[in-house]
């Protein structure tokens, strides 16, 4: 039942293998050729510049929005701070509720139909409703972000808590562990990897949620900036903004990977070695 990240190890493997084998030059070559073809196509009039901005113009736009006019920073700050706050609040809510529901079979039984309904609803679609209900401003944007990133941690915490390994549970029971001990020493640590998978999805969803909120409520944020640019037929800058989001998306991906290595250290060779020597030091020396 847990929601897993779609990013496949197959792709990451392929990419890393490719990089290791010094195929970077080839990749870059292909990329440059494609870009040049695009540029050429645009200059020769094969590609409609209304729709497909020239790569050179996109590069110019990057320079403009980041350095010359530096107008993107304000919007970036707005979007990113909202995404992070909404994500932290939304996932705290998700994890808390997930744990609560996971431990309480009665609540779980009663909540199930509502969870099914919530799962089937495109949650991002509630955005206009929330903006109308909560009004313009930070509150409604935060509410949207929280709503879209609440679900994955909720479901994953729930499933992590429910799917505790039977044998381990029996072990704890044979040692006469109390309910809190089972929760603290077994269930929660056991659920961490799957919760982290939920968190990663939640952060990605939070970014999408922020964009949709900004499309509707256009005061600030990268979403609203993209709209201004497309409205002004300035597709090059619109693309520069979209590629900015690609970079943010990539940073989220990498950042969550790092966080996962840190928190769920026992899943990774490096993490195990790090913690192993750390524990040795703290245990033996003092």
């Amino acid at each position: 039942m847990a929601v897993q990240d779609a990013t496949s190890e197959v792709l990451v493997d392929t990419l890393e293998r490719s990089l290791r084998n010094r195929r970077i030059a080839k990749h870059v070559g292909i990329f440059l050729t494609l870009t040049l073809l695009w540029e050429l196509g645009s200059r020769m009039g094969w590609l409609d510049p209304l729709f497909y901005p020239r790569p050179s113009n996109i590069i110019r736009s990057f320079w403009l929005i980041y350095f010359q006019n530096a107008n993107v920073w304000f919007h970036l700050y707005s979007t990113i701070s909202l995404v992070i706050i909404g994500w932290v609040l939304g996932s705290m809510l998700g994890i808390g509720l997930g744990a609560l529901v996971g431990f309480n079979t009665v609540i779980r039984r009663f909540l199930k139909p509502y969870v099914i309904v919530l799962e089937a609803t495109p949650r991002i679609a509630v955005a206009p409703l929330l903006i109308a209900a909560l009004g313009f401003g930070v509150n409604s944007k935060l509410a949207i972000i929280m709503l879209v990133c609440f679900f994955a941690p909720f479901i994953n915490t729930l499933s992590g808590v429910i799917n505790v390994n039977e044998e381990r549970l029996e072990l704890f029971r044979s040692m006469r562990a109390s309910k809190t001990q089972i929760l603290r020493k077994l269930v929660l640590p056991d659920a961490i990897p799957v919760i982290m998978a939920g968190e990663r999805l939640a952060l990605t969803a939070a970014l999408s949620g922020a964009l949709v909120a900004e499309f509707i409520q256009r005061d600030k944020g990268i979403g609203s900036l993209i709209l201004v640019y497309t409205r002004n037929l300035n597709m090059a800058s619109a693309f520069a903004c979209i590629f900015t989001l690609t970079i943010i998306g990539f940073l989220i991906f990498k950042g969550m990977e790092k966080l996962d290595h840190y928190i769920a250290y026992w899943k990774y060779e490096g993490g195990r070695e790090r913690m192993s020597s750390k524990r040795k030091r703290t245990m033996v020396e003092p």
């Binding site: 992070i84 706050i85 256009r218 005061d219 002004n232 800058s237």
Partner: protein, 344 residues
Amino acid sequence: MKMFKVTMLSTAVAFAALPSVSFAQDTVISVIKPTPRSAVFFPLVVGEALGYFEDEGITVNLLPSDTSIPYVAFIQNGQADLAMLDPNETINAINAGANINTVYEVMQNAPEGIAVLAGGEYTSMDDLVGTTVGLVSDRDRAFLQAALDITGHSIDDVQTVVLGESGPTLAAAIRDGNVSAISGSVFDWAALVANGIEIDTVTPEELLASPANTLAMNADMIEEKREAMEGFFRAWSKGMHVGATNPDAVEAMLRAAVPEEWEVEAAGMGLFQGVLPMNISTTERMGDLQADVWTSVQPRMLSSGAIKNVVDVSTFLNDTYIDAANDFDKAQVEAAAAAWLEAN
């Protein structure tokens, strides 16, 4: 776990920082309108650049949003102090029982128009009969309705399609002949022209003399918010005055405040030149309410079906702020604008 704590802590800090961004001591005036800060309503940008809103103790909180959102609702539920409305929206709201007053005319001539491809097969309103006409937003339907009505047709003689506000969609639709014409406003054409799509307007003359983008507010709040509103409109009028006397300063201020509109020089310039005259009042007092024009446009809107009933203008036009809005030293404003231009 430490990382988690760091995240939480930084979140808490960011949270604490957020409210401090809005100025606690100032009066906030929330305005719902179609665009964020833009050349289209430059008096706001000018007023902010020269610190006039600040001088009045006002922070302007813009609620730029999709034009499919009925702005009147936001006045009624108190989320907005001012809403930018078109005449037909105003009349319809009053007919629907909304307790609103129109207090300031941002544009005294309609920026709306009906555009066709220059040198194309459509050259007049009559040519549009039987074709598909694109609307930039739902709002533009009433204007098209009125234009067709004046030229002896009705909205049922054409097909309409909402194109949305995306520039390339508009451009492609008219260039490739998917629509015969676009009913929109001068802001929508500026970008098209800058991208080499020449257009002509076939708008009936009579429709141009119409208030547009007027600001309305909850009638019950007129006295309660008097001080802030007078300050707001005074700052706006000052911005308008700079537009009338020193367009170069306005241009420079816009380049600084909304650089995103000037990245493509031709588009920025085209837009600026298009909206400059629109934002300058033709009446003696800036932002004044033209009761006779409001009276004369209503029968036309009625016959085209854009409104259901004609409303007596005295019931909702309220010029109680206009005098105060014009109560400033013009020479001082001109000097300030010149000094700003000098300094930047």
